[in-house]
Symmetry: C2
Subunit: 227 residues, 2 copies
Amino acid sequence: MTNVDPRQLPALEVIATTRAIRRYAPRPVEDALLAEVLFAATRAPTGRNRQPARFVVLAGTPQARRARELVAANAQRMWQEALRDEYDGDAHTAADRRLARTMDEHVRRLGCAPVLVLACLIRWRPPSPDEGASIYPACQNLLLAARAVGLGGVLTRWHRGIEADLAQILDIPQHVAIHATIPLGYPAGRHGLVRRRPLRDVVFEGRWGRPAPWAVDPAWTVHGGLV
Amino acid sequence: MTNVDPRQLPALEVIATTRAIRRYAPRPVEDALLAEVLFAATRAPTGRNRQPARFVVLAGTPQARRARELVAANAQRMWQEALRDEYDGDAHTAADRRLARTMDEHVRRLGCAPVLVLACLIRWRPPSPDEGASIYPACQNLLLAARAVGLGGVLTRWHRGIEADLAQILDIPQHVAIHATIPLGYPAGRHGLVRRRPLRDVVFEGRWGRPAPWAVDPAWTVHGGLV
């Protein structure tokens, strides 16, 4: 895959090979590429086409740097908590250990990620579990477009618990919710086939729990559960 | 665009031309295509890779038909309410009127849409405004993949208010939330450039409200606000 121009890849291939990229090469991201991935983000649908999503790009200004440091410190704290709560004990698989190493490095170096994008939602009604319908499709477009232009990123909640501090530093109004923190950069590793549970476990026909006989993964699928 | 095999289109072009498709040709959707778009859906990221999304595909079984009739009736009711609440008065633009005609037809014929997919989330914690991060990226993958295989669909909330009835008919467990209703079919119209607000309105740099000078739309962009 290394020598193929990712811009030429068909959409289905980009979708099947957009991995969460958590480690970035020490190389700045060109503004023109950022504009392309944010343009892609804005092509996503939103409820009644309200277009309530806004993207705050954090790079080198003093306010941005303070916000990035906060996010990075928060990520390290959240990851340490997750390690204590979920990864403790000796039930580790090789994939768990690999992920843990990647995450360690990810949170340690997050403050130096080339770009952080905060995906924000201007709320038009009280908070609700389905308001994400108007922002997470945009985040997915952003990640797919990043892969298509040679970048990579990952959808995170590293803003959780420090929303008020970020809002103060970045002048984010009160009716606006930060819904995702997306680091972006040139991948230190690379994209590749995404591993997931087989379709038969997640696609039902006619009613909950009834497998759809036609829901068969492509022959080349790499299966995987929690990785 | 008519004669190009959509499967060969680069991802960025698919992203820029995936419209909400609300009218479908009277032609069944092949199971193999459904499998492809659902496979694409499952490639999306989820929080901690929990993979809590499930897809209930409604076609011709008796339970499915009852569920579809309920959804269609609900859509007609919701659309009539929206018309009363938001589209009343004489502030109509041509785009408003076009959308109103399309929506009228969409809800009237929803019961006959070739496929309805309910995108469901197995909750692992109490409902929260950001739980959609683990299902709406999958919905966007599904819509992009539909466009890439020659189909079209639209992300809707036509299940709103009748979740309990649908859960009963379709045996959906109590800890599972329906997060989207996605009709799919061969488009009666066609895909094409998506119109949105210009990037300068939605991309900020360093802090909220500060335009990013590099956030410029491509020259070929078709602008549009609420359409």
